[in-house]
Symmetry: C2
Subunit: 206 residues, 2 copies
């Protein structure tokens, strides 16, 4: 993690000096690294080591106001039932497209004939290494959901216009869901390119 | 945290049973709660207790393609220099508007004459209690930045159209920044209401 010479961001960059594992929980792993600041002084950075996640934006039709597949799920740390895209953590080494197919199937029962890459997001870069890969999915075939043990999730099908109305009222607060909506609007209006490929031919980006 | 009787989300809701503090770091506090699942079985939930944060979307002019004030900052957990709205953690009990004024001043040196509420977002509801309050700011007066000790941040002024171009190329990945852009576009095009108040009269929402 030494910066390359000629690094134009050398005046901003923090470089790794040493590492300590603060916590290995059943779910969370927390690290404390000592870093060198740009002025040469030392500081510590505590953060969660996260394997990354995916979220899927599933379209049930190709119209201008498509039906979308979302899930509702209680999120204990904020004690709210949230409306979200189907999503989940990547397993170690799992390609994002494989995780996207798995989570869509587990949480909603749908399988998709075609996929288009949406983009990467960083949701808590101050204290988590998590990145989230967003994929669009279409050509959906329904089936039974297969939630993990201890996972209580319900599917909610909703038109784009209804999701936009929730957003305009400030009722949509999950970041991956807001950004997926933002990118879906941009793609449908021609302001963002998307490129569909069949499930057999889609290339992973991870 | 017991659900109200007649709770329409009782089939999704997890209820608190007991609590354990796993880590009290210099920066992060991690808790493990035992919860009752909707089917009565027990599970544990590990998450970060976070005081919440704010982000500010600062507009330098009122035109259709305004100049915006952003900051560039190295985010160690993902080892990237990120382009973001000025932002920071709330202090205990700090109103979001007070934190917004403080962070805008500390990171960029600007003070704002008027503020408009943008919205709440939840950036990691699976494992953090963090919420982020977003505010629009205008009527900006420049001054010297006052970064915290050990904070290396540089201001970058950029037109909305340039930020939209970065987004279209997939180069904008910070969630609060993407969502602030999404809401700014919606407000400027009349799809989202905003209501400006002077700094003296603005009401907090926290």
């Amino acid at each position: 993690m030494s910066p390359p010479s000629g690094d134009r961001d050398a005046h901003l960059r923090e470089t790794h000096q040493s590492r300590e594992t603060l916590l290995t929980g059943g779910f969370l792993e927390v690290r404390r690294d000592t870093v060198a600041l740009p002025d040469g002084s030392r500081a510590t950075r505590e953060f969660i080591l996260h394997p990354g996640a995916v979220a899927v934006i599933p379209l049930l039709d190709d119209g201008p106001d498509p039906q979308l597949v979302l899930v509702r799920q209680h999120r204990y740390p904020i004690d709210r039932v949230m409306l979200e895209w189907p999503a989940g953590k990547r397993e170690a080494g799992e390609p994002t497209i494989a995780c996207a197919r798995r989570e869509l199937l587990e949480e909603t029962g749908y399988t998709a004939a075609e996929w288009a890459w949406a983009g990467w997001i960083h949701n808590a870069p101050a204290y988590s290494s998590e990145d989230i890969a967003l994929w669009f999915a279409r050509g959906l075939v329904p089936g039974p959901a297969r939630p993990d043990v201890g996972e209580f999730v319900e599917t909610q099908v909703m038109r784009l216009s209804a999701l936009q109305a929730l957003d305009a009222r400030g009722e949509l607060t999950d970041v991956k869901t807001l950004i997926g909506l933002h990118w879906l609007q941009a793609a449908l209006s021609g302001h963002r390119s998307w490129s569909w490929a069949s499930t057999e031919k889609v290339c992973d980006v991870a």
